[in-house]
């Protein structure tokens, strides 16, 4: 621990580590907004101008932000809002309504939420919310009463915009877009979605009222940029209390990023997905391993984290099975090979298993039918197998047709790592025909 300096200016290393964890975790988990959005400057400017015009000039607008998951759509909007609200004039005027298609699953709920967020519920009367029809009429009246120059502009943010298009008749969307296209209260409708075909979901009259502005967030990130982003994400800011520690940390991050094996791992991640969330996940695993005794991220940490990230979920589940269950899975695999993916039932699997016991097995012995049945049901619960059709009430369980939900490669991978797997079982699994 040569870094530990006992001068006044330096904090003890434990304190430093705590600080590091705090800063980086906020960055990686709490989606702290970057000071300026990277790679999306043009979109940022476009959206900012658009919303500013609504807020300042009272011009109604509608816009969609489209991009794959983890591309930074919400981050972009939040950045824009943060920058927008720095303007005092805007801050005083702008009303915001945030809706999410996953929460407001129908127009009734959405309308209530809008009324609530606009603080109009006290105007509704003693009973806070009337019927759906009244709510709609009420809100429309409220919006209709406003006009461009005198009403406060309202910003509607519709997260998971595509889900709103599934509401009955698309009433909410029609009305929002209609307000945005008529001389009523100034509103800006910002939809956020990851579906590229979102416009095709809109009914033609709704579509006609939408302004057709789309901001696409499609990151054309290259690997060097990705690497650079990893570095900045891990680097400590300049105002870190212990300057020396920060310097050391940043240097270690730099060397980490230059490491060949680390680069390979990151390249693999980059090939798999460019989105920010998966990168944050990877870095989070690394960060969790940082402690007082290991005050820097080592390439080995990153490799381990990468291994965790890429681990196959189903193969991991196979590790937890009993030998009998594993044998059943192998029997199913053989059945799949023989019948080319046709479904099977318990009896077939049991027969296959019995064949193996008679011919090859020396370590395994036969189990009773109920035990096999139990194991089979356990596999079904783990969703390693699933019934072909769900309406299975009439058929006896032994004869219910099932399909295997795992790929052969996963079985083989699991067998490689399965602790104390009997060799004859392994051989049986690898043999071409049962």
């Amino acid at each position: 621990m040569s870094k530990r300096k006992l001068t006044d200016a330096h904090l003890p290393v434990g304190e430093c580590i705590t600080q590091v964890q705090e800063i980086l975790r906020e960055r990686l988990c709490c989606q702290k907004l970057p000071d300026r959005p990277e790679g999306v400057e043009a979109q940022h400017k476009h959206l900012l101008e658009l919303l500013k015009r609504t807020a300042v000039h009272g011009e109604s607008n509608s816009v969609l932000i489209v991009g794959p998951r983890g591309a930074g759509k919400t981050m972009l909007l939040k950045c824009v809002l943060r920058d927008l609200l720095e303007d005092k004039e805007v801050q005083k005027n702008l009303l915001q309504v945030h809706l999410n298609g996953l929460l407001q699953t129908d127009d009734r709920i959405a309308l209530k939420e809008i009324t609530r967020q606009l603080h109009l519920e006290n105007a509704v009367g003693d009973k806070v919310f009337g019927s759906f029809a009244e709510n709609l009429a009420f809100l429309l009246e409220a919006l209709k009463k406003g006009d461009r120059s005198s009403s406060r502009p309202v910003l509607f943010v519709l997260d998971e915009f595509d889900l709103f298009a599934h509401h009955k008749n698309q009433t909410l969307l029609y009305n929002l877009f209609d307000v945005s296209q008529s001389a009523q209260a100034p509103i800006a409708v910002v939809g956020i979605t990851c579906r590229l075909d979102v416009l095709e979901l809109l009914e033609k009259r709704v579509k006609s009222r939408f302004s057709h502005r789309q901001i696409h967030l499609l990151s054309s990130l290259t690997f060097p940029q990705y690497l650079e982003r990893v570095r900045t994400q891990l680097s400590l800011p300049d105002d870190f209390p212990d300057g020396k520690f920060a310097e050391d940390w940043n240097a270690s991050v730099k060397t980490l990023c230059e490491d060949k094996s680390v680069e390979d791992v990151l390249q693999r991640h980059f090939n798999s997905s460019k989105d920010a969330r998966s990168m944050h996940m990877l870095l989070m695993f690394c960060l969790s391993r940082v402690s007082v005794s290991r005050p820097a991220i080592k390439p080995a940490d990153l490799l381990e984290a990468s291994r965790l990230c890429f681990a196959d979920a189903k193969a991991n589940m196979l590790h937890g099975l009993s030998i009998l269950e594993l044998c059943l899975i192998i029997a199913m695999k053989h059945l799949n090979d023989v019948y080319e993916g046709e479904p099977f039932n318990l009896q077939m699997v049991h027969n296959e298993f019995k064949k193996f016991l008679q011919r090859k097995s020396n370590s395994m012995y036969n189990f009773d039918q109920p035990v096999i049945m139990k194991a089979f049901e356990h596999l079904q619960q783990l969703e390693l197998i699933r019934p072909v059709d769900s309406s299975s009430a009439k058929i006896q369980r032994e004869y219910q047709l099932m399909r295997l939900m795992i790929d052969h490669s996963q079985i083989m991978e699991a067998l490689q790592k399965y602790p104390q797997c009997p060799t004859d079982v392994k051989q049986w699994a690898m043999s071409a025909f049962g």
């Binding site: 011009e59 009403s151 590229l196 009259r205 057709h212 789309q214 798999s272 997905s273 460019k274 790929d407």
Partner: protein, 910 residues
Amino acid sequence: MKYSSRLRVRRSYRWLGEPLSFNRKLKTYEYRSLAISVEGLPRTTVINTGQHIFIEGEDEDNPYVAKVVRLLGDESGKQKKAVVQWFVRVSEVPLSKLKLLGREPHPLEIFYYQGRSCDDEVDAGSILRPVQVKHLDGAAPFPDSDHKDILYVKLSWDSKTFRAVDPALVDPELAPASSPPPRPCPKPSLPPSPPSSPPAAAPASRGPPRRALPTPDLAILRRALSGEARYSRATMSAGKPGAAEAESLHSATKLSASKCLSAKRRNASGRTPGVRKKLELSSPDKKSMIREDILSQLLDEELESEVMLAQRLSSSPPRTLPLTHSLTPLRKAHGALAAAAQGAFPLKPSSVVLSKLSETSSPPSPARATTPSRKKEPKTLKEPALGVLAEVDHENSPMLPDAATTPRSSKRKSAQLVSSRIRKQLNLLDSHKDLISDGEDEDEFVPSRKELQSSSEEEEEEGDGELDSDEEVVLKKGRHAATPKPKQRTRSGTRTPRKTPSKKTTPSTPRTPRTPHRATPSIPSRSLPARQPANVLEEARTRLHVSSVPESLPCREQEFQDIYSFVESKIIDGTGGCMYISGVPGTGKTATVHEVMRCLQHAAEVDEIPPFHFIEINGMKMTDPHQAYVQILQKLTGQKATADHAAALLEKRFSNPAPRKESTVLLVDELDLLWTRKQNVMYNLFDWPTRRHARLVVLTIANTMDLPERIMINRVASRLGLTRMSFQPYSFKQLQQIIMSRLNKVKAFEEDALQLVSRKVAALSGDARRCLDICRRATEICEHSAADPSATGLVGMSHVMEALNEMFSSAYITAIKCASVQEQLFLRAVIAEFRRLGLEEATFQQVFVQHQALCRVEGLQPISVSEGLAVCQRLGACRLLLLEPSRLGVLQRVRLNVSQDDVLFALKAD
């Protein structure tokens, strides 16, 4: 709601005597008289030709007035019709036209109607009862009559001007058969009043004479006389507080229900302010009336006038009750006292009450601050009726100074006598009122209309008490007189809440405003004004916004003309009709109809065409097709009702004849959303215009041209008729013209750029909204691309091209280009698998095998199944792939959402 719960009086109608003549053409018999008998009562009312009658109308309290010209029946005798000459009430004359009168109208005044836009044939079933109508000379004052069954005609009204009317036209040959007999004067002790005593005050006092709503008192009083218990019944059973009227009635119901004194008091107090403040429908008179009617109902379903009349007169003491209660809003704390007073009143022999009557104008309480000044007024007011307004003003001005100073009871001895007696009873009360009324008077006489009315009301009372001599006046004032103080206190009570909202709300009837109809929702207004456009581009952008209303609608002249002439002719003829307008979105359908309506409304304002209602509903702006009824009803009458009830009310409105009904133009936007399985909403919408009395013009708008054939069943499509209009998508020239006219000489675009936009849009959709949006976006691009914001040039081709690309280009190819390596690889694996299978669909498992192979070819590390699934899901979320639900795992089937060529093109370009 109100109507559904009401108990109808069943009347039966039959002809008296043999038919006078038979019309061969129409196969109708003409009769001389018609007998109306009410179920359960032996008496019948006889209506003769030439007699004046009340006819059932929309407003229960103010039935229409007409004179029977002929009585007709068909051969079967089932249909009974009456041909009538209409009279217009004051409340039916449009507000704007009433000023032509040049004076304040008398509430009992009616006008001989000479307009043409009115059907003069009514169903005999709508005749209520006879009424007496007297002709007065133009200059003659209105008799100070309280006989509510006598109406006065001075002038005729032809919906444009007032003219003098020939008395021969008005006066019937026959006297009303069952008009109420003159009533005994209940106030013998009163000094006789000159016939021209403050009649001027009367109109104002009767309630707000210049309201869209009928003058309530008038009707009530008249009802009281003719003993139409039916009405009060109806009002009593009215439930929902949809309107203020209903609210008052609601409380009335309560009144009847509870016998508990305290409850009554609460009701009365709550009722008064609520009623007065809102619609001013029911004055205290009404309440007492209701009470009366309840009483009479409890005894018997007495409907005939004499019985009622007698009852009313005899039971005048109890009438004091609600009036006394009205005190409570003033001072809740003195409820006990008030209760005591109440207890005292009804027990008093009627003679006492009658004697009190004489002191009407001299309330014993010194608190009656307003009275002194008023008391003098009657004298100054003894002027011809035409001076109403002036008098009222005059009266108000001195009010403040001598309020509470002049000893009020000094003027009249009889008043003094009784006042002393009452003072004994209400000593405490009075002392309290003192304070209140002082304060009241201060803020009360802000010269607003309401104040004027209420003050003149009081004044009238005063005058009546003092000057009552005329029989009818006595009858009417009997009520006031019988309950002198309470009445006046009621007034003060009613006024106080109006001024101080806090008081108003506390005693109000327990109303749960389920509906936010009273709420005035609005987006709060901004603290800083919106900035105005600063440069040419911003100006252009504002003008190009779809919301900005253009000065004119270019390129739709023909359609405009067609719709205009269609609607205009229907309005002028007073008939109904339907029109179906179709066209793809953004072709100006709604805008054109609105423009037509603007023009027609303007024409109606300058009297080129009869006035009409324009209402608009939008299928998209309602949650359920049946809400259409609710919205129509609300926009037509302001009533709130459930869908079923609204449908019933509208049905009634459009199928029953009603005089002086304005034409209604109904715009139904997004018609296809009103589709229901039974199509009853559409059926009704198209059936109403075909009714004879509906005067309804329905304009429907939808996108598809063949909607009637496609979704409507035959009977609906048939009623919609063949008046169709189709809005063609705009051609590029039209689009160009639209932009030019919007820009209106603001030079922001290059010619070529405009042409490019309009050609592009015309080729794709012809949607004007799209065109404007693109232009707007182009101005933004132009603004941003300019290095120096102040030196922005015209919007050129490049800017427009960029905007067009943004809006029309698909993002799929870019999205594929921007996808990660594994995602791209997966797409290639999908295509490879499709080629292998010869199908456009494969399971994930199959694709994954291809993917692994491709990974090896590309020299990449093969990915695990989990990771492969994640890649697949990501592509599915963007809808580059179409996937089955993810719970199927490796078994889920995969399809491409883009063409294979596009994928290959995008991947090759790397």
